[in-house]
Structures are given as structure tokens and as C-alpha cells.
Amino acid sequence: MQYGMYINENRCMGCFACVVACKDWHDVPAGPASWMRVKTIEKGKYPDLFVAFLPVTCNHCLHPACVAVCPVEAISKRPEDGIVTVDREACLGKDQCGLCLQACPYDAPQFGEEADARMQKCDWCLDRLTEGKKPICVISCPMQVIDIGPLDELRAQYGDVRETESFTYSEELAPSVLFKPKRDERNLAIGKIEVTPRVGTEG
């Protein structure tokens, strides 16, 4: 079975509640390692703009590149739910190795700023999932942007859109993420505000 994540990009307001909730829950200190990140997408010229926010974690790919390249098998994919976990004891560290970071096109492997930092990353809150609770980012998002659950159930509920503005689906890796993408509607704004014709006369 494969778990997956669904993101309603239209609703994300870039508030970082998920980012900080994740750091608090998993005791990740301030610094470069952040299991959950929120990207800002900005396009256009004043005053015709498009701005979107996108939360990104590890995508727990069907064919994870990180697992394949790790020389000491520190990263593994759980058969029961497809979640990709990392054994930090076994990891050789960023300075010695860092191959997973090079291999992952989604920048998911995270390293702290300490010397020889070991890899850490999102595990879709395995601790919570095993207790039957949704991951912390899901329950802390004020806009209810994120859902995490069995991928086929998510597909049935939300459809099968695999790409959005700043996220390219890799056929080779098959990331387990679905989107409701935010559409760039520049130039459509004119005429979108419906105006009822004049009802009165001058005076």
C-alpha cells in the first residue's frame, strides 16, 4: 500500500503554521533543516501579478531515488505504507556522503547546520499515523490545505492531478502527491467582476 498527500494549493496562504507545528512536534531546532517547507511562487509585473504558496515535504516516491543511491542503506521504503524513513545512526552524514540530497529532485533530504549533519526528513508523522491520527501538518493547517492518507483513497476523493506551477511530476520516481493546482489567471481579471448595468438615470 502507498500513502500519499493531497494539497489544495488554492487555499494555502503561506502562513507557516505547518512548518512551525512540524518543527515543534518533531523537535527540529531552528536552522536549515525543515521537514515541511512552504514555497512562494511569484510571477508578473506590477500590477499584473500571480502569487501562490505551496507546502512541500518528502513525497515518499514509489521509486525513491534517495533509497537507490544511499551506500549504507540508511534510507528505506516501508512496504506496508510506502513511507520512506531514514536511520540517522546509519547515515554517513552530509560532509562524507550527501548522495541522497544530490539524487532527490525535490530537495526533501534535510540537514542541520552541525558538522557532519545526518539526514533527516519528513516521515508523514509515522508516530501519529500509527496512533490513528493525521500528521501534525494536516491538523494544524488553518486552511485545511493538506490531507494525507492511502494514495488510492486520496485519488478517489480529490482526483489525480500530479503537477502544479512549481512542481514537476517525475515519471521515474513517481512522487505520491496530488494537487488542486492554483491557476495563473492573469489577464482574466478584467470582466471577472460582473457589473450590473445602470439601473437609474442621471441625477
Binding site: 503554521a17 512551525v20 515543534d24 523537535d27 511569484e42 500590477p47
Partner: protein, 735 residues
Amino acid sequence: MAVDANHEEKIIRSICSSHCGGTCEMKVHVRGNRIVRIESDDGEYKPRLCARGHAYRQRVYAPDRLLYPLKRTGVRGAGEFTRISWDEALETVAGEMNRIKARYGNAAMLHFCSMCDPHTLHHVGAFHRLLCQFGGYTAPWGFISHEGATFSAGVTYGTRRKFLSQSEHRLEEYLSSRLIIMWGWNPVTTEQGTLTPLFLAQSKEKGARFIFVDPRYTDSAAVFADQWIPIRPGTDGAVLIAMAYVIIQENLQDRDFIEANTIGFDQFKAYVLGLEDGAAKTPQWAEAISSVPAATIENLARAYACNKPATLATSISPGRTAYGEQYHRAAAALEAITGNLQFQNWLSAPKKKAVKFNPQLESPPNPVEAGAPPRKNALPFRGVSVNSSARVNVSLFADAILKGKAGGYPHDYKMIWLSNTNYLNQLGEVNKTVKAFQQLEFILVTEQFMTATAKMADIVLPVCTFLEREDILAPRGGGIYALLNKVIEPLGESKSQRQICQALALKLGLTDYGDKTDGEMVEHIVTRLSEEVDLPDLDSLRKQGFVFGRPKKTEGGGQPEDKKIPPTAFPTPSGKIEIRSEIAARINDPLIPAIPTYMETWESLNDPLAVKYPLQLITPHLKRRAHSQFDNLPWLRELQTQAISVNTVDADSRGIRSGDLVRVFNDRGAVRIPAKVTERIMPGVVALPQGAWYSPDENGIDYGGCANVLTKNQISPGGAFTPHTALVQIEKVGQ
């Protein structure tokens, strides 16, 4: 309490009490006396925590938290202090208070506390009770956040209650709106409770159209906007009045509503059409002022008048400008003449049955205010105390200290007590406030952190956070109740605000302040409220988040909901919505006109000063702070850089690129911070988020990025704080 079997963690409930306007529910995980993590309540319509709420553990355990009383050893502002005992600290404070009282009188003492960690037991009432028992003090008047809105609601509707609907319509109202005009409102960042953006998202999904009128393409615009109308700061009133012109010219006004519910439409119409001053307030007139194209104003006016129900979601932010009252007055007039007001809070809400018991701490009248006449711009719905001319506007403490009686203030001021407020940082013209504070004989600050304000103090007393003491959220008149549990014991020697007042009362020889503990007070309040309100018992209250307490039914049952508008719905002199305000007319000040009027701000682009300082500064919120709170927490600091937003055009002409260090300056001061070059702000306007901690070097140049180094210490005629009215220049100083 719920026990998490796997972790042996207890979950204790509280309500996030930061000064953002929201009160989001918090499930705090504790092990022993230690907070280990914080979870949101994920109930479907529970306000979930924002990033700041989730970072609260770092705030409680911040290495720079103040945990012991401190005495200043270096010069004011240097931040050199030594730890002393509570006894020595309180002895010193009581000694100074007695000395100043004997020498200069009670009025020489100023006091202010902010909305950081407030609610019932630890807010202004705690201090007010003590200081009034001590013989009185000079209290502030005016709301820093929304005095412009409060004032204009007061003169238009005769009450301040209605103003809340201008930016906080009942959330359900958004769901039935066809059009929502977000005027200077960025709820995604300011939060005001995380349910607000959720409801806006649902309104959008139901088909509501969103138009944003704002100098910035805010994050809220990013999420919701169908259209963005950039506007010059301080010119909102002109555009709203020109919209009224279009509506009147095209006869789109709601005649029935105007007839039934308002007075003064004809006078307003005469002003709008220019019958008296010969200047018609046409869209072309407003375009020249605001840079909003006339055709856009026409379309906006028609859209608002013809897409009912439409919500004019006017933020309180544009009211924090010179003559900001007029923006709110014009918006209120527009809502009334289009009949869109009918749809809002005031008229549709059933009258709440007042609960008689007032949970706030009681206080004797303030002797300093005895016999003082009301201020000239007093409002009828405010009590005599708040209206008293013995008070000083909250924005003007620095001016009052510097000028005293000679400058027309009621007294000469020698001492200030500031509690949970980074006053120096958060009000106009920091360098002037520094100068004023240097003159005082005694400064007492009760705080959690060594803020720029605390650095000026002679004695600093450590206050615990809201997670370390008990409190209750208990509005009068029924509504939402919640109990704030003590989650852990206070760290170090920190105490609650009320405990500090209790201890100081004893040192001052005041025996009737009250010796109940905070916990006993909460119990007492719940018991008393339960006589009038249907509330769960204390134990259930401790375990739940928000509960909705309804006033108990009395004989005859509750009033039926009367949706029809009674003829005298408004406590104004006429009983109607006063587009021409009798209250304003009686104030008899040309700068507070009876009709909503556009008045050009000081430091506008037409000011000769604009040659030297050609950029308009606005000082918006940053989502990782609540005002100056949270600025020091690593989890939040890393999310956003404190920087000044500059449009590409203005940056290019100055050779500035994103990330460059720039000097932002005017005659009041200078700040050095990185620039953020962006398309998301209108040319000619720069935005420096307020709340960053003032950190001057030896030359007085601020490297912290404190916006108020640049703002002016001048209030609007109605009393509003005016931080969005300031001209600056920027130049590149490094990379």
C-alpha cells in the same frame, strides 16, 4: 485530563493570548512541569493555531526570558542590569511611587499596559484597581489599533459596537456575500483568529468575488483577489467619496434604506457634488489624489452598489493615518447609502441580553479624573473616565512628558509604569520617546523580555506568560467563554500581572486590593457567572476549549429575533445612522467635520518635504510577529527577513537590488536594513513591517529595523495613531 498513553504526556487546554486579535485554541502537551509540544485543536470549526502559537514553547523557554527582578546599573537604554530580590524591587517601586506622589501629586504617574496576554484578571483592570486605590494616576485614552474606526463609529452610529463589523463582519456574512471589497485588509497576515481566512476561502469557493484596494499585493490578495486596485496611502477617503459621487450620479443609491435609517444624506450629496465648495468629487478628482484610474473607481462603485449583498471589508489599518477618521466615515456613508449596511452585524444581530455580573476587577473612581471636564472630542458612549480631559492620548506620552503643563497637558509627568508593552518601539517617533523617557525620574517596566522599552527602566519586574497562570475569557453579555489553565508553574521568580499588583499593594500599605489567588478568582467568577449564564462546571471548563455560554432564560423567555429595523436603532442624537453627524458638529472643529470629508494628510506627496523624502512609508504587520511580540524566537525569525519592500522602479532608480543594505531615513531618524525589491508594492510606496526591535548603534542608527524610528508622533484630530503617514528616502549603503 486526557493522557497520551504512548508518551505519558498530559494535554492541558489554553487559549493563545498573543496580541493579534485572535484567540486560538491550544492543546499544550506537558510532561511534569515542562511543556514538550503544542497542538492545535483540529475540530472542524475550531480556530487552529498560527505559526506564532505553535512556536510558543520557544517563547516560554527563551534563553532571554526575564525571570528575576532587575535593577538598572548602566545608563538608560544600555541594558545593564543586576538581579535583585522581589522584596528590594517592590521596596524601591513603592518608595518611588510614594515620593513622586508626595512631591508632584498622583497625576505625575503615567501607566499603560498592552493587549499582550490580557483577558480578565491580568489586564488593565489589575493595574487600574491598584493605582486608583493608591490615589490615582494619569491613564491613557484611545486605541492604538483602531481609534480612527472607534471615533467614526461613535459619531456615525453613536456606539463603538458597530465598527467591528467594518473589518470583522460576522463570519457567516461573508458566506452570503456576492462581492467582498477588502479595503487595506490582510487577514492572512494579521490573523485576528485563523477562522477568518478559512471563512473567506469558503466564500470564494461559493462564488464571492474579491477586490483588494491596497498599496500592496498582500498575501491575502495572493490567496483571494480577483482584482487588485493599488492606492496611495492616506487617500482612501477620496476614492470612497468619489464612489459615492458615481452612485449618486447614476442614481444607484438605496433610497428606501437612506430614507428609513439615515440622516444627512442631502448634505453629504451637496458636498460630494461640490454644490458648496464648487469642487465635484468626481472619479477624476480622486484619480489625481489616489492614483486609482477614474474608470476603475466608476466600476468599483457600480459593482458595490449593484451586487448586493456586498461587503465593504474596511480594515482598521487605513484609519491609522492622518485624518483616518474620514476614511472610516466615508466607508460608513457608502455602506449606508447603498443599503449594504442592512446586511451587517448591527441590524441583523438580535440584541444580546446583558449579563449583570462584570468579571473585570473592580476599581474605585480615579481621583485624578475627579472634576475634570470631558475632552473636546469626547464621545457619548464612552464613560466619563475615558472621556476625561485628565487623560493623555495613548500615542502622546512622549510629547506630554517633554512638554507637560507648559505644552497644554493636564500635568507634568515624572514617572511611567509600562506593563507588557514595548511602548518605545511601537508608537510614533522612537527617538523622541527615548528623549522623553530620559527626562523621567522613575520608570517601571513589567515584562517578559528585555525590550527596548525595558532597557529604559529603573526597575524591571518579570511577568510570566499566560501558560503559567490562570485566567478566564469571559465577555459580558454572554458569548464565548473559556478557561485558561495554568499549564506549568511560573519559570524563575516570574509572577502574573495580578500577583505583582497584589504584592505591590501590600508594600504600598493598601489592604483592600484582594488576597484571593488567581485560581480562586477564576473559581469565583465562574460561580458568579453561572448564576446568569448557562456554563459547564469548573472541571468541564478546564477540559474544554471555547464554550458558548447563553444567558439563562428569565420569565417570559428570550426576546424573539427582530430582524426589522426599529426606528431608533442607533444611539445617536437622531436615532439614525448619521451621515451628517450631530456629535461631530457639536465638537465644532473644522478638522472633525460633520460630513465625511476628504482632507489631505500631512506629509503627502504634495508636501514640500516630498522633494527631500519622496517615498510614502507604510508600516504593516509581519506574519511571524504579533506587533513586537515573537521577534526574538528562532523558529519564527528564520521564516521571514525584516526588510523594506521597494517597487522595482524605485529600486532601479537608486541602484538597489534585493538583499542590499539600505538606509531608510527622514528628519526623525534612520534605519539600516536589507531591501526587498518586489512587484507587489506600488511605486512611490515603501513598506517596513512594524514590530522589529529597535537596536541603535552609538550614532542612533537603528539596525533592528524598527519602523517607528521613522513615523511621526502626531495624532489625527479624532485621536488616531498615524503610523502610515510618513515620508522617507532610501539609499543603498552596502551589499
